[in-house]
Amino acid sequence: MTVSETNTDRRELKFRKPGIDRFFHFVVTAGALASLLVLGLIAAFLVFRGFQIFKDMGFSFITGSTWEGSGNPGEPTTYGIAPMLVGSIVLSLVAVAIAVPLSVAAALFIEFYADQRIKKFLISILDLAAAIPSVIFGLWGFFLLAPRASHWAMSLNHYFGWFPLFHVPGPFFDGSPFIGGMVLAVMISPIVTSVSREVFSQTPPDQISAAHALGGRKWSAIRYVALPFGRSGVVGGAMLGLGRALGETVAIYLVVNIVFKTNINILFSGGGNIASMIALKFGEASPYEVKGLMAAGFVLFIFTLLVNMAATYIVNLSKRNKA
């Protein structure tokens, strides 16, 4: 028998998964897709309960800036969440503006400057800080940070009041978006730091050695190797922090003086975000108003979902570039 005579066609595999495995696959797939179901249900139920509001208010639910009435017949009722939507964005932008530069620097410190023995300890501190409950940050923000921060806000306004952002219409500095943003910054900085640190830790060591071999000092290695390498990871981490800041409820509720009015003078008292408004109004809301809050919750849900998807996409992009 010569080689040419052998049958080169592939033998057809006759394999059927055993019944137990098919059952197993079914169970695991169902379990894995339960999260999808939950996400779908969240969206569906919030729309279902809030649908009447979207129908009654139309597009002005997003653009309107009054929240009045309880929907009883004869009572003029208008719901528009623009001030709180703007407030959510302002608060989280303040938080990100403060937290991201510091977090990136801290991540660089932990990864490149800290001693190996201290490094492990610092990473556990980072994990612990990320786990502190938000209500505790709220307490701390109210009693410890707010009195100091309103003092800082006063000085900022005194010296830089000509800058539109730091302008205030009156001398009221308590419970401002600035203070709320600072508490949020403290809350999100552990996660931003730990994402950035993880990205920096994956910097190819040979490239760092190459930078040193070319006569570069530590900073040159960071500036020309680590930072470009980690850029997209840092952006992704910042957006994860942004997503977390957008949805924060209790800390904002405790620290910010929640006023239903658009306030973009960050040092001026009053503000709030959608989540804290929901928590504030929920207790005494009429059934119709609860529907309004459901609709507001839906807007918040979609908004944070989009931010998080973008963040995930960017982080994955950076991972793929490295592979």
């Binding site: 137990i20 695991v28 530069p101 410190f109 009693f143 900073w219 994860l240 209790v250």
Partner: protein, 342 residues
Amino acid sequence: MTTPQKPWRKSGTSRALDFLFTILGVGVSGLIVLSTPMAGPEAVGLISIPLVSLLNLLRSFRQGSSARANAVATSVISSAFLVLITPWLSVIGTVVSRGRHAIYTGFFTRDMRVTAPKAALELGGIKHAIIGTLIMVLIASLISVPLGILSGVYVTEIRGRLTGLVRFITQAMSGVPSIVAGLFVYATIVIFFKSYSGIAGAVALAILMIPTVARTSEEVLKLVSEDLRFAGYALGSTQSRNVFKIVLPTVRSGLVTSAVLGIARVAGETAPLLMTAQYFVATNKNPLQGPIASLPVYIFSMFQTGNHNAVDRAWSAALVLLGLVFVLFASARLISSLGRRK
């Protein structure tokens, strides 16, 4: 054989100089703050950071532009780290120092059924809140740990067409604001049963817990060596047997860690519980009926009372809650390191 030298290592003198210049910078800024109307440690920080950077810049001035940039960068990065870590330490320190006042043995064995929030600190306690938190966290774990592990198993074992989707959904779900989870449970369970309940709170917590468990268990399952799986198949095992008898037992401690991390993530959630489990002054051990207290909501409601003693109670409950979360974290660490040593 001599040990290899590290010529790039800082010498003792240069370390001493670093230290000296930092002390000098902070000291001078302290004097500046004392001699001007500015006040407080934060003002010292504000002045000393640029000052120390400047001193280091001057020190390295004759060593070229690269050395100068390096000196400034080192000062800026180290001070940014200090600025960032100060509030975390301040949070922990404040909770510990202010939380001591209301703690006495009865704090753990009494509830607030017959005690007003403003009553003396020797009365009342947080038994109801501790029991409520334990009940809700337990039920939430019973729901979310199996689901989370299943989605981890799907991604690492079945590796079906939906792998990308499952990962993506897990990520998206980890970004759901906690108050939205609360609203959702209110819109379904609370409205349906026409009552706040522990089970409603537990479901809200479970929604927030699933992504953490799913992500960490996926990471852990990825570590199982492919050889182990092949060995199982070579012995004629079915996939389900392989998973239950080989893969999952191999990473048992890792899976426990993922559950503990999930619990630590949700034990301090306040917002979703406000609209699902609400608050109740007495101990309620029945999760199916009626509002039920929890540590975070207890803190929240004591704070809102505004009374001095009530706020002291809030701080003490915060200390207990923080202790609980830290113990959970430490045990997660311990379990995973024990598992690795095996």
